[in-house]
């Protein structure tokens, strides 16, 4: 029975590997950190967790993922910075003025700034970057919507940048801001790359840029390493180096944080946060949510010319069905159960982190949770139940069996999908849950090959980009390229308001228009906001201070953090002594774990050996 035995041996090994993997992972991570500390004792390194989305590409013209934005915020300059209250401040631009007709903006750029290779930064770099995004469809993939109203950008001299807009535009000072805006790239590096921008990976290190940090190394799905720019104009970073470490699971990151191998995690989940609040060596902070989690509905995906694409269920084009889905979704329960109440029930498209844009349906207009009503509207619309309890679309004759795409490795998506499946089943809609990787989900989305998707977006203080992905201009071309639509939403009135709010300078007036846009989205039920989860941060108190900026409100909620720019810039090492002592304490704790693991291994191994021996005896 040779085969039988070896297979069992493998199974036992697999069990051991499974039980030991977190320990092994932590040990592997500890080694390089210890080595670097030994070789350069006085140098300090800020160790943070990379965004869970990872980095899709280091090409700033094409990137969509949070991990990439976090990196760009540190290594590429922008015209403006944002202060703690979300107001535009100086960065490359020292000051800016607006012409009387509100069509021309003149930025005065700082003199004497240099790219990391020593070449001076001039207005020409900024003009070239913005012009490329305006004129080249590929270059506009990620940020094209931000400059769609720009008529021309020019640099009459090295410190002057002139932006002319087609219509008056209110948010020009938000167009190029760290993380959520357009990063300015060095013209002398990128000019030769502009032709084949689609294939540029931008992975020659150190990357030529300018910012609080220089990216010196990056390994996909592993880490990004940075050196501090000691001459940075907005302040010297408090650490000499920074590592953004990629973790496949937040639990592993939390274990690294607890054992002193990591200093900061932006975005733990609610269960982890609740557990970590009890730990005295950690600072736990809740930020007002700067993003939404919600359901998107493929209501007959179309290209810009109106050509139907994809395999969406035809019935989802019917607003009644979409409204029934909204009626059958209990957002309050989702907040309470899926994110332990650490968030706000969703309605408007823009998150509460930016209260100036936040919108709520008027009293009486909000969609309640009402299963009976959902059943009734479906009955009235002719969706009759089949023998199996699943309703049938009267037009296409297809049963209402819908695919729901969720992100793999995402507990929130998995949690929500369980509830949605339950509620929709009671109103006669059957869901088939499809777990997809982030890239598979996004590729299905772009092709229109989906019915329902769980999605989430975060936004900076200017809502233009997030509002822009719901405009008709964001739809893909007939060949499927150049689109960055989020749900194939296209509505004339919405597009008109989108252009109008861009040209409205009065804040309150603009907020009203943005509110109207959100009202259109809310009524269309194509993007159904479930909740705005609070961003949950954890930092070590013994190795880092000053990372969290701003002051908490009465409920203890901090404003949305610009962690990848201000947070990492302002973070400073805590006193070294406390770090060492606590590391020792933590070391004791992990010793117990390792000891336990060794014991377990010995036990399992012993049993296997004994078993084999007895088998051998039997055989002889």
């Amino acid at each position: 029975m040779g085969t039988g035995n070896s297979r069992r041996g493998l199974a036992a090994l697999a069990v051991c590997a499974l039980s030991l993997s977190p320990v092994a992972g932590a040990a592997a991570f500890a080694a390089p950190a210890a080595a670097s500390a030994a070789s350069a004792p006085q140098e300090t390194t800020l160790r943070v967790k990379m965004s869970g989305s990872g980095v899709d590409t280091l090409n700033p013209f094409l990137a969509f993922f949070d991990g990439a934005y976090d990196i760009f915020a540190g290594i590429y300059p922008t015209l403006n910075s944002l202060d703690e209250y979300g107001k535009p401040g100086p960065y490359l631009a020292e000051s800016w003025t607006q012409s009387e007709d509100k069509l021309t903006w003149t930025f005065t750029l700082r003199d004497g700034l240099k790219w990391s290779d020593g070449t001076p930064i001039t207005a020409d770099d900024a003009a070239w970057t913005l012009n490329l995004i305006m004129t080249d469809a590929v270059a506009g993939t990620a940020n094209g919507s931000l400059v769609s109203n720009f008529e021309s950008v020019s640099a009459p001299d090295p410190t002057t940048l002139v932006v002319t807009t087609k219509e008056p535009q209110a948010n020009v000072t938000y167009v190029s801001i760290p993380r959520s805006g357009i990063p300015i790239v060095p013209k002398h590096i990128w000019e030769s790359r502009a032709k084949d921008l689609k294939d540029v990976k931008n992975d020659t290190f150190p990357i030529v840029g300018h910012g609080p940090w220089t990216l010196t190394d990056y390994k996909p799905e592993q880490y990004a390493k940075f050196d501090a720019n000691k001459d940075f104009i907005l302040g010297k970073p408090g650490f000499d180096h920074m590592i953004q470490q990629s973790f496949k699971s937040v639990d592993a990151a939390v274990a690294a944080l607890r054992s002193g191998q990591l200093d900061y995690i932006n975005g733990v989940n609610a269960t982890q946060f609740t557990a970590l609040q009890a730990d005295k060596s950690l600072l736990t902070v809740q930020e007002v949510g700067n993003g939404w989690t919600g359901l998107e509905i493929n209501h007959n995906a179309r290209t810009r010319t109106g050509k139907k694409i994809g395999t969406g269920h035809p019935a989802l084009g019917d607003p009644v069905l979409r409204h029934a889905i909204a009626l059958a979704t209990d957002r309050k329960t989702l907040v309470d159960k899926v994110i332990n109440g650490l968030g706000v029930v969703g309605s408007g498209y823009l998150p509460p982190a930016w209260p100036q844009w936040s919108w709520k349906p008027a009293a009486g207009e909000e969609t309640p949770f009402d299963l009976a009503q959902a059943n009734k509207v479906l009955d009235d619309a002719g969706y009759t139940k089949g023998a199996d309890g699943v309703r049938v679309d009267p037009k296409s004759g297809k049963p209402l069996e819908l695919r729901l795409g969720i992100h793999s490795d995402d507990a929130i998506d998995a949690g929500i999908s369980n509830y949605l499946k339950g509620w929709l089943e009671t109103v006669g809609i059957k869901l088939e849950i499809q777990t997809l990787s982030m890239s598979a989900l996004n590729s299905d989305l772009a092709k229109g090959d989906w019915d329902l998707l769980m999605d989430g977006w975060t936004t900076g203080p200017d809502p233009t980009f997030l509002l822009g992905i719901q405009t008709c201009a964001a739809l893909p071309k007939d060949d499927g390229t150049a689109g960055n639509t989020d749900s194939f939403f296209c509505d004339k009135a919405y597009d008109e308001l989108f252009t109008k709010q861009l040209t409205t300078f009065d804040q309150d007036e603009r907020a009203k228009l943005v509110g109207e846009m959100q009202s259109i989205l809310y009524k269309a039920d194509v993007n159904q906001m479930h909740f705005y989860a609070n961003t949950l941060d954890v930092a070590r108190t013994d190795t880092v201070t000053g990372l969290i900026t701003g002051k908490p409100d009465a409920q203890g909620m901090y404003p949305a953090q610009s962690y990848s720019f201000w947070g990492y810039l302002k973070a400073t090492p805590a006193t070294a002594k406390t770090a060492a002592t606590s590391a020792k304490e933590e070391g004791g704790g992990s010793l117990v774990w390792i000891g336990g693991a060794v014991l377990l291994l010995a036990l399992v191994g012993g049993v296997i050996v004994l078993k084999r021996r007895s088998g051998a005896d039997d055989r002889e």
């Binding site: 159960k337 999908s417 339950g422």
Partner: protein
Amino acid sequence: MTAATYTSAAPKAPRRHAFSRFCRAYAKRPAGLAGLGLLIAFGALALAAPLFIGDDQLNVIKVDGPQLSPPVDGYPLGTDQAGRSILLLVIWGARESLSIGLIATALTVVLGSAVGLLAGHYQGWVGKILMHVTDWFIALPSLPLAISLSAVLGQGAASITIAIAVTSWTATARLVRAQTLAVEARPFIERAKVLGAGNTQIMIRHVLPNVMPLILVSSTLTVASAILSEATLTFLGLGDPTSVTWGSMLEAAFLGGAVTAGAWWYLMPPGIAILIVVLGFTLVGRAVEHVLNPRMVVGR
């Protein structure tokens, strides 16, 4: 050869006799009995589950227990994030975990035995091709193959079952082929041939009954690894996230931060359930192996 006496005795004596002798021999192996006891207990629980577990206790929209609570009154093994009883989830999870394990094993055994029998009987180019295909499958790493298969076939129990079967039939095929070769070399096969038995008759009437004990043993052991594979694949997120299996429970616990929260009551029960069932099948398999394989019997 003792094996020959056993095999030639089988057709003469009534089957009932052989079975009761097998039972008596099996009863003398306490480990095998313990394993059988574990399996019967789990099997009975899984079969009886619908009698005492309803939609009200499993559907997240209907339960009202405390969230991620350690064992308390009414929830002897605590609750998950949605407030469902872990105990009931583990019992319910046995249904799908066991059925996927058993069905995948049945497929494995049928496929593996057919290939092994054919390859052993037709030793010409048919046998060569079949064995080359088998070798090719053995060379493929099974976990990545299973993952890509279930990714291609789509999620859910059916695709996982197929993925497990496709990746684990090779061992059975090799085993059965070897035994077929051994059986076919015996004189009684030659006698059957002389008496005019065709290929099918030799394979089905003469070889198969003699290979059967081996298949039985191998399949009991295959169930154990199939259940482990099922748990592995669902843990990796290839199952339906709304169905309850041990692997999906572990996945939900792991992704939901149960490790950080120290929620041992969420992680341990499905893990221990997998352990017990795999142990049960392994013990039974080994006991059956000892009883049926005369070369392993000591002091008779």
